[in-house]
């Protein structure tokens, strides 16, 4: 059972490996998620980061696409909005490597599952 996926946003990943999820439904792709996904995959590899980068559906906040969720074992999980290629690289360098969250990009909506 993948517990981390169940616990939802705000909680850290618990299996030791960081996970990045990119919203890749029509709305995300139209806003440029494909490019972001590619950049993350390529650059994470280039930086030698042990990350799982995967696609997911649309979480509903279409106005804020592309959305990228970052789940690390050591930090609460957050969702970045309006991510482009450049922000994607900042996420890798600042959030993943330095464990410093990026300002002015996180969205956090009240939601019960």
């Amino acid at each position: 059972m993948n517990k981390s996926a169940k616990e939802g946003r705000g909680h850290p990943a618990d299996d030791g490996r960081g996970v990045i999820k990119v919203g890749m439904s029509s709305c995300g792709i139209a806003a440029g998620a494909g490019e972001v996904f590619e950049a993350l995959t390529k650059e994470a590899k280039g930086r030698g980061l042990n990350l799982e980068i995967k696609k997911c559906g649309c979480v509903g906040s279409c106005y804020a696409e592309p959305l990228v969720e970052v789940r690390l074992p050591c930090l609460p999980t957050v969702l970045y909005s309006r991510v482009n290629k450049e922000i994607a690289l900042r996420i890798l360098d600042e959030h993943i490597v330095n464990k410093r969250l990026l300002n002015d990009l996180i969205i956090d909506l009240p939601m019960k599952r």
Partner: protein, 582 residues
């Protein structure tokens, strides 16, 4: 304090005034340093916290503590009390916020839609397992009855009843159809579910098949949704490989096959009888009911047709129980509803709310109000079959019954927000124009009535309307409602009737005063150059396509109304706002 480092999300949620998010962040950082926990706690500026007009809002993660109206002096209190001792600062805590409840969209944005393993990790196919191994078809329908789920495609027919009717029809072959022909302007929740969580719809269809005794199902998806089609195809393939489709599912005697049919984009094919004709390879036109599809549907066999969102609810009902489901929502409208909220709203997108919360909570609480700080005038729900709900009725709970009382419908869940720049006649012309375009032409009330009504509306919007025209519109509307063959024609007059009900003044303005408040009805406008603001740059004269701007650098310029074609170019190009539109 927990071992996970804390993050503090900060956002100034006031719509007007200076944004103080950065200042509060500085205060937090200073305070954290003084407390000696700056290495363990990060203060971060957020982009959106989903609450509005609550001053500076602060959220602590992973504690999930939410504070509002935070002042600089409260910061040390939060740091010392909540962060160091784990106590709540009562007077700042935000409670009972309008919150989304994710039932249909539970997996959207959470799992990888291309992976069946991830769906199974989220309890996917557990509901199916329970049905096939532990429940009889009659018990499945009983559980559906307990849940109170009603069709999410528009009319709100109780799902269990539809299933029960099909179950009691005797036939060798029965069918299950998933209606994914989502065509209402502004509605796209079905696409999102198909793209974000395809297996949940498949699971819903298999359960439906088991309940009614069908061995074959069809997805009917519009061809304009290529990604949804691709992901459904992949998910069906995976479900076959996983033993959830095909012969002897989960080792039982039940077998079920699924296939995909693409709709070619005709709106009327979302109507169930037209949809079945289309699957049969015939021209997609509706036929009179009865017989209802549950008696004689696809190829004259008993058939149920459920909407994507309805089917996505089904697996959860069996995972968590019909009682759990019916605890959400109002007395007669159970569960949640997904709305696609678009138009002049700040946060456009999908929202899933429990039935019974008010329109105000959706538009202002979750949608963030109108974009650009304008005033919200109304919300249109239910697409071309729905109506307009004015701001004065925003405190009405959102449910099938309440929306109907207001002259609108739940519909598939499109919600288009309109602000003061929108003209109701213009909006209605759009919706009616859509229905006229999409009318299949088979029955006269819809084909002729819609066209004539649109002509009358055009006449009004051009300033040639009379009171008699409004009476004619009402008469045609009644005929269409009573005599059209299918819901497309029966409901096409709804936007017109609801605007006549709530915005009669606008019709009177267009007819009597020959004025359009919003400036949308081009023929009613006059363009005028204001001599005191005009810098005599001549740009309007150069751009005017009909040589209606006359004058020279000495005397100034003016618009000759007789020549003006009301294209608005002069208004748009003027850099000094010297052209007025009245």
């Amino acid at each position: 304090m927990s071992t996970t480092p804390t993050i503090i999300l900060i956002k100034d949620t006031r719509l007007a005034g200076v944004d103080t998010t950065r200042d509060v962040q500085n205060v937090f950082e200073k305070c954290l340093k003084e407390a000696g926990i700056e290495s363990h706690v990060q203060a971060v500026r957020a982009a959106d916290m989903g609450v509005y007009e609550r001053g500076v809002v602060v959220k602590l993660l992973p504690q999930n503590v939410f504070y509002g109206n935070v002042k600089d002096e409260d910061v040390s209190l939060i740091v010392n009390k909540t962060l160091k001792k784990g106590e709540l600062v009562e007077h700042l805590a935000l409670r009972n916020l309008p919150s989304q409840v994710r039932v249909v969209l539970r997996n959207c944005g959470v799992i990888n839609p291309e992976s069946m393993e991830e769906y199974i990790q989220e309890k996917g196919y557990e509901g199916l397992r329970k049905c096939l191994l532990h429940l009889t078809p009659a018990q499945v329908i009983d559980e559906m009855k307990k849940s109170g789920l009603r069709g999410r495609g528009g009319a709100g027919f109780p799902t269990w009843m539809k299933w029960n009717l099909a179950r009691s029809s005797v036939a060798e072959q029965k069918y299950v159809i998933c209606n994914g022909d989502e065509g209402d302007p502004g509605a796209y929740m079905d696409r999102s579910v198909l793209e974000g969580d395809p297996h949940s719809v498949i699971e819903g269809m298999i359960i439906a098949g088991y309940a009614i005794g069908a061995s074959k199902g069809f997805f009917y998806i519009r061809a304009e949704y290529p990604l949804a089609v691709e992901r459904i195809h992949l998910a069906i393939k995976q479900a076959y490989e996983g033993g959830f489709l095909g012969q002897n599912i989960l080792g039982t005697k039940f077998s079920f096959d699924l296939d995909v049919r693409l709709g070619a984009g005709a709106f009327v094919c979302g109507e169930e009888t037209a949809l079945m004709a289309s699957i049969e390879g015939k021209r997609g036109t509706p036929r009179p009911r009865p017989p209802f599809p549950t008696q004689a549907g696809l190829w004259e066999k008993p058939t149920i047709i459920n909407n994507v969102e309805t089917l996505a609810n089904v697996p959860v009902i069996f995972q968590r129980g019909g009682d759990w489901f019916s605890a959400i929502g109002t007395e007669k409208s159970k569960g949640t509803k997904v709305f696609a909220i678009t138009g002049k709203v700040k946060n456009s997108g999908l929202v899933e709310i429990p039935m019974g919360i008010t329109m105000r909570e959706i538009v202002y609480g979750i949608g963030g109000g109108a974009a650009d700080g304008k005033k919200v005038l109304a919300v249109q729900t239910g697409g071309p079959s729905g109506g307009v709900i004015p701001e004065s009725h925003f405190d009405t709970p959102v449910s099938y019954e309440h929306l109907q009382e207001l002259g609108s419908i739940m519909g598939s869940g499109g919600m288009i927000v309109m602000d003061e720049d929108d003209c109701m006649i213009d909006i209605v012309k759009f919706y009616l124009g859509f229905c006229v375009e999409e009318s299949c032409g088979k029955c006269a009330p819809c084909r002729i009535g819609g066209y004539q009504m649109l002509k009358l509306l055009e006449k009004i919007s051009e300033g040639n309307g009379t009171d008699q025209d409004v009476a004619s519109i009402k008469r045609i509307a009644k005929a269409m409602q009573k005599a059209s063959l299918c819901a497309l024609g029966q409901t096409a007059p709804n936007p017109v009737l609801s605007t006549l009900r709530y915005f009669e003044d606008e019709y009177k303005q267009h007819i009597g005063d020959k004025k359009c408040r919003a400036g949308k009805c081009g023929k009613l406008l006059q363009y005028r150059i204001m001599p005191d603001k005009c810098k005599k740059c001549r740009l309007c004269q150069l751009k005017c396509p009909s040589n209606a701007v006359v004058g020279d650098k000495e005397k100034g310029y003016e618009v000759v109304q007789a020549k003006c074609v009301k294209c608005g170019v002069c208004y748009e190009v003027c850099k000094f706002e010297a052209v007025e539109r009245i």
